[in-house]
Structures are given as C-alpha cells and as structure tokens.
Symmetry: D2
Subunit: 347 residues, 4 copies
C-alpha cells in the first residue's frame, strides 16, 4: 500500500510501504476512506517533535472501513464504517477510567502518526480498537465525521469545556486558525452573549465571522482589551481561549479576562511564557491546559446527527489521497489559500 | 485613642489618633478586643504596597465589640461581639452577589489597613457592617475566632477549595509559613492520603508536622519531585499549593503535579514567573490564583464550634495592644522566634 | 391609585387603594409601567394559597420607573427604569449570600402579591430595592424585559440549570404551558440534540414547536416513553423537566429518564406524588425541586441585549392596566385563547 | 469445589459444585481467600429478587488469588492477589467510559451472585477481569480490603458523594445498619460539623457512635427533626442519607433537610414511597438514588494504605468458608448478635 512517510525535517514522501498487520489482539486494521492534515503535522515536518522518528507514517485523523480485527476486539467488526479518534485509549488504566484518554498510561494517548504509524495511508493499524473508534452513524458524510477525529473535540474539550463557557458569557478567542474556529464552533453551543475573535490576519478574521464570532479584532491595528472592556463594563472577558501556541498570544489571553475569569490554553507551545503573577495573584484567575481526550465524541456525534454542528464548514479543500503532497502545500500556505481543513479521500 | 500608624517605609508608630466616626450609614465602629499581624503588613512596612499611604492605620483582622452603628445597619447592634472579616463586602454588586467579596466593585474588597484605616487600633470603622462582620459564637475564644478573619479562610478558599483537594489526594504545600500551615489545616478537612510540606527551613517543617503534614521535605537537601513521584507511582501530586509568593516556588509547584492536577497559588507575588507551557500544554493542568473572599467564614465557624478546627494552634505569641511594636519585631523574625500568629489583646 | 385586590376565592376587583409608602429605608416605590399575570395568580384566586389574605394586591412581575426610595437605598434613584424581580432579596442572610434569594431568611423570597402588596397596581412598594431590582438596559422593550421578572428565570434556573442540560442532550419537557415554553427557551441555550415537548393539548404543542421543541408528543395519543427510547438507543431522556405541577406529570417525568438522568421539577404542587423507588433506587437518578432565585437575571439580561433570547415571543396579548379583569379572563382560558403571557401597560 | 447455592426462598446449601471455567477471554478464575455476606443476600434468600434463580451461587464480594485468566486479560496474572469489585465493568460501553460501571450496558453491572455465580464459593469466575479487579496492596489485610468490594464504596459513592457532603455540614444518617455505618465512615472524610445517626435500635446507635456519629437519635423515643433544627438554627440537615430502604425512612429523610439540602438514597427499596411535593416543590431539594459503581475503589485504596480509613472496624465476626450457613445465621440476627460484617476465610 501507499502512505505519507516522514524522512526527517522537511522530507516526506508518498511511497510504497508494507500493509499494516495486527500486532496486539485489540488492534483493528482500518482502510482509510478519508483523512486530513493537522497543524501538528506541519510541526512534525519542521522537526519540532523529536519523538517522531524517520520512517514514520504521519496522520492521526481518519474515517475508514474496518478490514480486520484482533481476537480480543469485541465491538468492531470487519466491514464496519468507523471514526478513528486521534487519541487511542487502553480503556483500563486509571486515566482512561476517568475519561482522560489523552493521558492513557498503558500505551495509548496521542500515538497515531507520532510514536506509531498513522492515518495518512491507505490502511492503518488502530490499537485498542474497541475504545478508540466509534461507529459511523448513517446519514453523516465522511467529511463531516472526520472533523470529529481531532479538531472539533479539541476546540470543545480543551477550549470550551476547560474554559467553562456558559450562556451569556463574553468569550475571547485568540487566534482564528482551524483550532480557533473550532473553539468558536464549540463555544456557540453554550450561547455566549459575544464571541470576540482576535488575530493578526484579516482573512482569518473573515473566516471567524463566518464561523460565528460576532466581533473580530485585528490586534495589529486595535487593542482587544479596550474592546473587551467596552463590552463588559470594564471587567474583561469571562473566558479567553488561546488557540495559537506562542508566548505573546498566551500572555495576551491572560490580560483579557475579568476577575474570576478563565484562560483555556489549546495552543501547542514550544517555549515558556511569562505569567504576570504580580497582577494575576489576586484576580481569581483559572488557567487550564490540555491535550484532547476525545471523550466528547459521543456528544458531538449526537449534535452532528441532530444537525446542531456544522462540521462541513471546516472543509475548504478536497484531494485524493495520492495528491497528499499537494494538499500539504495548500494547507501549509493557509494564509494565501484560505485553507481550514483539507480532506483527502481514498476513492 | 491609640493606633499603629504607617509613616512610610520602615516607619510606624503606636500613637494617639482620632477616634473613628461613622461615615456611611452602613458603617459600624468596633472596639478592637483582639487583633493580629499578617505577612502582608510586613510587605506594607517595607514599602511594597504603594496604595498604602502615610498616615494609614494598619491591620485587617479583628475580633471586637460593636460600639455604634450607622442608621442603615440592620443586623449588628452596639454591644455585639463580632468577628471582622479582612474583606469588606458591599453585598450588592455583581461579585458580592456571587460570593466573590474579595472582588467587590463598590468600595469593598481588601480595604482595611490598606486604603482605609485598619484594625491595629483601639477602635476601627468597619464599612458594610451587615455583610462584613459575623456574630461571635458563645464558647469560642477571641484568639481562635481571630484566626477566621483572614488566615484560615485564605488557606481554605484560595488553597484547598481552589485546588480541589479531595479525599485520598496527595497534596504538596510549597512553603510552611503561616499561610502554608493554614493550607495544611484546611486540606486535612478533606482527608488527603498525604500532605507533603516543602520548605527550606527545618523549623518551619517542624511546625508543618505539628499542623498535620505527614511528610516534610527540605528542598535545600532533597528533591521534592522525587519524593512525590515515589508516593504516586511516578505521576506527581494531585494538588500543589503555593504559599510563598516568589517565582521559584511557583515554578516548583507547577513541576510537582500529575497530569490533570491543580496548582493553587496563594502567595502574594511582586514579580512575574515563568510558565513552562512547553511541558505543561498537554498535561491537563489547572492553575488558580485568588484573593480571599472570606465566604467560607460561616463554614469555618461551624467547624470551630464543632471542635473540628484547631485554630488556637496558630497562636504562638501573645501581647497587649500597646506592645504592638514589640509584636511586629517578634513576628518579623519568625525564623528565629518560631512565630506563626501573634495575638494582640486590648485588655 | 388603582390596583387589583383579592377579596377571597374567585373575588377580585380593580379598585381604588392607598398609594404605597416607604416603610423600610431599603424600600423603593415604583410606578408600574408594565406587569403581567402568572399561573400562580390563578391559583391564588382559586383559594389554593391560604397565605394570601383578603385585601392583598396581587402580582409579582413588573417593569417600572422609580418614584422614590428610602434613605438606605444606594444604587436605585428616582427616575430609574427598573426590572422588579419576582423574588425580593435582603442581600445579607445566609441564603442571599449564596445566591439563593428565593430562600431569603430575612423577610424576602416570594413576597410580592403574596404576603405583601404586589405589582398589579399603578404603584408598588419594592422592599430591598438595591438587591431586588435591576437597571433596565437601553434598547430593550418593557415587554421583553418583563419576561425576565419571573417566567424566564424560572424555566432557566429551576428547569435547565437544576436539570443540568448540556450540549447534545435529549431533553423532555412535560407540559407546554408558559413555564414549559420557558424551559424550552432556556434549554435551547445549551444546544440539546432534541427537545421533546409532551402535553395533552395540541394547541400547546403547536406553541412548543414555535418555541423550539423539535419533537412534540400528545400523550393522550402516543406514549412518550416509546418515542424517547427510540431517540436514545433505548435509554431514555438525559433530562426531564416537569412543568405542570400534578402527580401524574411528575410521575411521568420520572419514568422518562435514562440511568444517570435528571428530573427537574418546576411545577407548583398541591398534592404528594408517588416516587417509584422500587424502580428508581438503582438508576442513579437525580430529582430536584426549586423556587426561582432570579439569580440568573444578569445572565439573561446579557443574552437579551445580545439578541440571543427571544423574550418577546411569550407575549400573546396586550392590555392596559385598567383592563386587567379582562386580561385575567383571557389568560385563564389559555386553551381557547392561546394566551402565553398577557402584558398590561400603564399608559 | 464447594459453594453456597440458592435453591429457592429460604433454601440454601453449602455443597459440591463444578469448578468455574473461563467462558469469555476477558474472564479470570479467582480462588476466594475471603468473602462476606451483604444485606442484599438476605433479600435474595427471602425471595425478594426474582432475577436470582435456583442453582445460583450467591455472594458478590471477595478478596482472592488469581488461578487463571482468559487470553484477552492484560493486567491480571495467575498468582495475583486481587480485590474483586461487586460490580463488573465491560470498560467499553458508554456508561463504563463515564465511570458509571454499575450501569454497564454490555453484560456488567451487579451480576456476581445475581445473574451469574458469585463469590461465596472456593472459586469464582470474574468477568471483565482487567476492569473489575484491583491489585491488593502490600500490607493491607484481606479483611480490610474486603470492605472495599461493596460496602465502603456504596456508602461513599451513593451516600456521601451523591449527597455532596462538605466540611462543616450537618449530616443525618437514617439507619445505622452496615450501610449506615459505611455512610458515617465515608462522611467523616469530609469533616462534617455533626453526624446525626437515627435508628430505632439502641444497639445500632451504639455502633454508630463508635463509627463516628457524634449525635444519635432513637426515633422511637425522640423526634429527629427537633434535634436537627436545634443544631441548625431551625433550618434542617445539609444532607440526609437514607440507609434502610423502606418508605417511612425515605419519607423521614426528606423532612429532615434544609432548603437547598440533599437527600441521598442508598437503601434498596421494594415499594414506592410518597414524595411530599406540596412541601418540597419550593425548597430547592435534591434527591439522588444510585447503585454503587465502585469507581471510588482507587481513592479508598489510597486512604486505606495511608491509614485514613478504618475498614477493619466493620468486621465483627469471623468464620471459615465451610461455616457459611452459621455465618448467615449470625448475620441475619444482627440485632441480637451485633453483627456488622462477618468475614469468611478460605484457609
């Protein structure tokens, strides 16, 4: 079969590799019907994630059809159409039993396209298949479903739930890339009074408006704190969601919130940030970080089936799997191409 | 009457001042029967809090007897023996109605001995008397009750409740001064499996043991992370409470916790700290800050009456009010004198 | 002035009464610009609430203009346009300090039109004015604002918040009268997957559809349990909200929920119900009751200003205050007239 | 091997049966080192649980040594000393993934000694061994550990956690049999101000005192409501835990609580109760029911190891397994014998 293989920084190839085999009895082999590219994949290609070694097949999001399963798999059968969660869950360890699948202690967590071969391939081995895949509901397209593999649970769990968004809130979202748009999508489920998107690029702010931000701020030109204070009687945002992953955006998020507010960090950070405790110590602030657990997938599936979640809106570009090198190019130049999520199908 | 007056950095005097008068109709004038000194008072005297201007009477903790009340006071009467909360609450603003009295928007919050004259005096004007004092229960000593003015609510609310201590937890308390000891006292109410106190001074660690820490770590000699990992199967503490207020102790606290753990900052910080988001972003960490609200005073009063809270244990030294300059000296040399809380009574 | 006076069961009159006077220094006298009739008023007129004595002016909802205030009132001034909450809050007692204003221990709670004279009058005395009125925001009509006095907070607090509605839930609302419609309106703020309205009257079910129920069940013809099980893989509703107040509807609500589900009772009950503990004991059920606190008014005001709450939709009929007897007639024959809320204005 | 077999109402025998075999690949066969008798077993013998059919081996609590495991078992090995939870968890279904193991949808829940053969035997087949057993910690006796199979998690989860006991609360426990004593033990972990045990038998009330109730009320002689009101300024208990399972005790529990209080039902009920909604509708009451999930076992194990949980105290009588008929006799006459838990060991 063919797959996208990482050969070190800035070197990937769509090439012939061995068909995956069942290793553990809880594995499934899944034919990839649709996959996509994540911002994290771009980080890997830059060489930022040293755990990803040469020869690794990339990708951690997929919708597919089960080809075969190990003898210990109970609930997934060959022929099943499934959503593959970006996080694998052993289902047994302390964290899995608490729903914190991203922190799995027994070989799960984010492993696909990271420490084991991933989904940007014709087939993929999915460990812990019973607890790491979800049956695809009838009437939901592969494309829409694929958005529940990583991006929608990430914005919802790590941004919206960790940030405790509640009806009537003023929510600031710092960064209007795919993750910021996911946080906006998730926040709307809780009927905030206002969603304020903040970014340096007008094209991303235009996207934010389409996704449901009612106020957008280009912070190269305007001070978001001034705008948030105007909206809130001088107090600041109830929740600020960091969706970039650099020190300045995190630090900005911590200045935007009211006493008692929440900062929910989603961004993947490579450097430390400065925490202004000399201001924050007395302000009853809560700051959270998190890796997605994908524990919200059943909820999001319910919303998708009930037509309350516009997952399709994320898909801006479509390719076949063998065009993946071109798809990476389009996705990596998102500022120009307007790419949010690019979908790769295996026809 | 006499009071301790701040005359600029390192200059205070016990001197004759005017008897306080009712200014607002919700004020009470309270005769101070017992007061104490807080670590924050030492910061003021060093000149660290520029809001405190020359001529200010210091002190924000008191048990006293009501002398007179304004015409708008409904529930407090001359002759009542009351606990004066260190935080004043208007009772009407948005934050007061949510119980966040420390963030009062209408002239309350921490004002006593800060922006208005305080309790280290024979008499004090207490604003918003109905919502900022509590009736002293029969059978509870002034000394014990005085510990509910600030130190016990601070450790309990900002350390224990913000840190979500639950039964069976492993709790690390960084700093074993008065606030750390208060956090230990509060944490014990939730039956953690272990309380690990961390400090550089063996005398403070001895106190921590007496207050209920079952493990003490002098981090000039031992690595607390090694010890916490041994206790927790390699994961780290469930909760780390910062009770010092400098960057290194905050940063230490953030390294000690397990995935999904809580860091509750109590310390008053004058400088920013470094937040290692490159490690923390994926660890599901929650970090909180807070000024005490004193909303837990009714709960703590119930525990005190029921003999579940050893408030007396904090009191290491006793003086009369006119010995306050000597009391400051003893309290400021706590490392030598072993002072935790010094009580000043007005005989 | 004129007011609607209760003279015993089935006897009311719109008649001349004394203009209200300030009794306590925290009172305000408010000119009633708009008021409405509540289902509870109909109960009073039937004689079901013996606390309401002859001579009482009815009504507990109003938007008005402050005429005068007592000397202890700080935040409300003559000329202010205000929303009068149906619950009065002393702001000082234990329950008020916890936000449970409906349980006020110091003379508040639901008193207007119950134990003191109410709002179905040209003027009303509002006790505890600082903590029982809210400034009317610019640009919001009296009619819309009036819905925040009682009906919207009741559905939201006692139905939606007590029932812990969350995104993706299947919510059953038993009873599609005004309170059921309010629960539907409030539930939509949390993006449930489905809202199933259950009633015996098709006219009320039509209204439920307009308010946002996506499924309606006339339980004189269909079994709601069958429909809920179909929607939920056989499990039952996540949340069932009781909005009628008779034993059979409460008992129905308890049969509709899944293991781990919530039953939120809003209905005002006059008789005991049967609780089938022989079925429920092992099903992890949570049942809540509650009187509205109106603590959600600030949240609902934010949503109203941000255009996220269609309060106007409740208003089906409009009268002037002197037509109140006719308005009662229309409201009491809601099945025929389709009345949801009738608004009475004082021109 | 030998086992206690149910042969219909009032008929059991300690008799020779087949040694259990692995049926599913996730099963373990466990040699029973210690087991005990539960009040539910007495109900079964009376014929109250028709799901239990003739020929069933009774018992759902055990500490034992693993004899063999199925091929799908990953974390449990022959020779391991384990605690067998009274609830079996598939680990995969929706409820198991939420920690609600008692509601397992895939063949788990309470099945041992109910729908499959149980632990009152020399050997037992334990389904879903990876997610239904816990490694026995060194230094903890079989007897103490055995109390974590059912009784301690039941009191803690269904009574204390569902009832939201918090520090300073006044907790009423209705019924001072084994489950009531477990609720008292669990409640103490949260430092309530008072625990009030209520029962008709002085012997059980004596036990309640030993377990930590500071106030005991024989409600054949005293009115518990009067006593609770005296303790709480007239308001009532914060939490009332029902630990009997008959209508009158449940109804009593609902009268004892304050506005905003919690009633946590633990009792196994065979009949409906009356819910006085005509009083309760406006009192902000929360009522919960529940089957134990045993999700608290890791927490309770941590407390047991840290010496914060006196599990041994429950064990009043000891037998060898072949004396089980005598043990049942002693346990069923608890009022006379003072039996709380009887331990049966397999020497």
């Amino acid at each position: 079969m063919k797959a996208l293989v990482y050969h070190g920084p800035d070197q990937t190839a769509w090439e012939e590799v061995d068909h995956p085999k069942i290793i553990d009895d809880t594995d499934a082999i899944v034919r990839v019907d649709a996959t996509t590219i994540c911002g994290t994949d771009l980080h890997i290609i830059k060489g930022d994630l040293p755990d990803v070694t040469e020869g690794r097949i990339l990708g951690h999001e997929a919708v597919g059809t089960v080809e075969s399963v190990g003898t210990g798999v109970k609930n997934v059968r060959p022929g099943d159409r499934v959503l593959v969660a970006c996080v694998s869950a052993c289902g047994v360890c302390r964290f899995c039993r608490e729903g914190a699948f991203g922190q799995c202690l027994a070989g799960g967590g984010w492993i696909l396209g990271n420490t084991i071969d991933g989904t940007q391939a014709e087939y993929v081995r999915v460990p812990f298949a019973d607890t790491s895949t979800y049956p695809a509901p009838d009437g939901v397209s592969d494309e829409a479903l694929l958005m529940l593999s990583d991006i929608l649970p990430t914005g919802y769990e790590v941004g919206v739930l960790n940030g405790h968004v509640t009806p009537g809130d003023v929510v600031a979202v710092v960064g209007a890339g795919p993750i910021g748009l996911s946080a906006i999508t998730g926040a709307r489920l809780y009927s905030p009074a206002h969603i304020v998107a903040i970014d340096l690029a007008d094209t991303r702010l235009d996207a934010a408006k389409q996704f449901g931000a009612d106020i957008v701020v280009n912070n190269s030109r305007e001070d978001p704190l001034v705008i948030l204070r105007e909206l809130t009687g001088g107090l600041g945002a109830d929740v600020a969601i960091e969706a970039v992953g650099v020190p300045t955006t995190f630090e900005l998020a911590t200045t935007l919130i009211r006493p008692g507010g929440h900062v929910a960090n989603i961004g993947v950070h490579g450097k430390p940030a400065t925490l202004h405790l000399e201001d924050l110590w007395s302000r009853n602030v809560t700051i959270t970080t998190g890796l997605v657990d994908t524990s919200s997938i059943p909820t999001l599936l319910g919303l998708l089936r009930g037509d309350h979640l516009d997952a399709d809106r994320f898909v801006t570009h479509r390719f076949t799997l063998d065009q993946i090198v071109e798809a990476y190019d389009v996705f990596s130049r998102a500022a120009e191409t307007g790419a949010v999520k690019v979908v790769l199908t295996n026809p």
